[in-house]
Subunit: 217 residues, 2 copies
DNA sequence: TCGCTTTCGCTACGAGTCGTAGCGTAACTG
DNA sequence: CAGTTACGCTACGACTCGTAGCGAAAGCGA
């Protein structure tokens, strides 16, 4: 779901159909987003220019700017949909569920278009509060459902204690999400080393504890 | 320790003193790196231009390009030194040691100059193998000493089992490093939420296990 | 002291990108 | 059909890029 520039920014309207004049081409929207993903994979974040995207999409540069005010916003929308493919399976154990999601996430991060875009987006987000909000709304927060689903399933199995209160549970979801997402991103995008099943298993064991201390079975 | 362009790229020399002609100004080096850090804090990665850095450092643009071939390399050197301040304390318990390092790292990431630079550097590194190598050599790998020191101290206290073999130990250091660094980065730079002592404690507990299961005291 | 070498600051350059404005045309509504 | 909006196209000034050429400055060895 892209977030185009509102055709008429300040017009409360009846919020119903605002069909008046020539409607925006939905085909252009798709062509632009596809072109953005392709260009990202080929040229990376730095090599991506608005002019290039427009040409590749068969669209005038003006048309592009009419919908997305800058490269940042454009890329958020172009990338966000990539993350929708992540699903939380129910494999019968928390360990297996986490390993499966980690593997999915790692595979996603291995793709050129997400690799080129994600960290660059995050980097811009550190300076632009609005952009950071959009990143969270479009990319980060929707994926927290995975953690919530996994927790719920594990609680149903008795692997996890039920939530005591809402606030604590939310904080715990945040911590777990930051840990899984951050670690996999760091492994793949910074260290640049592959996420093998072996690594995934070890990481999950570390996450679920116990730490390999002598006294622990 | 900056990595300037070699004055005469291909000259084995006797590797001794290559003093011939006017030597490069060490003051210019310092002025450039200082200007880079300042400009990063003020303008962010995207706003940082080579011309701006040169002007601010009181140096000709040509002088800048003689030493660093691009913005990427310049920023690596300008930022790497920031990380040298991290130290692993010996507070008597692994929990306390990790909490202390997490707090230091979070404080470092909260500074504008590192915030603007780190993720952007990582982003560029995903497309440029040489840059990624330089980032690892200059920033990432040196900090793994913290994990090794913490492990050694914990082993001496009996909190951790001694290493069985070298390869496994190295992998474990990598996993722990990716987990701590990645999680804190994600919390501060992506989620954009503060690293409080409370959060640090909960994260460390999660890391050291056991996971808060019902049967665990 | 005098060359020799290298770096210095400065200026200027072509190439490329940015985001916007103006134009005439196309598409859709009442 | 008139009104409205989106469209493709062209052109624009402002900016950054990385490089080249210049004369002057700084250190070296003879």
């Amino acid at each position: 779901m892209p977030a185009p520039q509102p055709p008429v920014p300040e017009s409360p309207e009846t919020a119903a159909t605002r069909a008046k004049g020539r409607p925006r081409s939905a085909a252009a929207d798709r062509a632009i987003l596809d072109a953005t993903r392709e260009a990202l994979a080929e040229l990376g974040w730095g090599g991506l220019t608005m002019g290039h995207v427009a040409t590749r999409a068969g669209v005038a540069k003006t048309t592009l700017y009419r919908r997305w005010p800058s490269k940042n916003e454009l890329v958020v929308d172009a990338v966000a949909s990539l993350f929708d493919e992540l699903v939380m399976p129910d494999l019968g154990s928390l360990q297996a569920d986490i390993e499966a999601v980690v593997a999915q996430f790692a595979a996603l991060l291995a793709r050129p278009e997400s690799q080129a875009a994600l960290l660059a987006l995050f980097a811009e987000g550190t300076r632009d509060r609005q952009l950071r909000r959009r990143i969270r709304e479009a990319i980060v927060d929707p994926q927290k459902r995975l953690v919530r689903q996994g927790r719920t399933a594990a609680q149903a199995r008795g692997e996890l204690a039920p939530d005591l209160d809402e606030a604590t549970a939310r904080e715990e979801v945040d911590i777990i999400f930051d840990t899984i997402a951050g670690t996999v991103e760091h492994r793949v995008l910074v260290s640049g080393e592959p996420v093998t099943p072996e690594w995934t298993r070890r990481f999950t064991v570390l996450l679920l504890g116990p730490f390999p201390v002598p006294s622990a079975g």
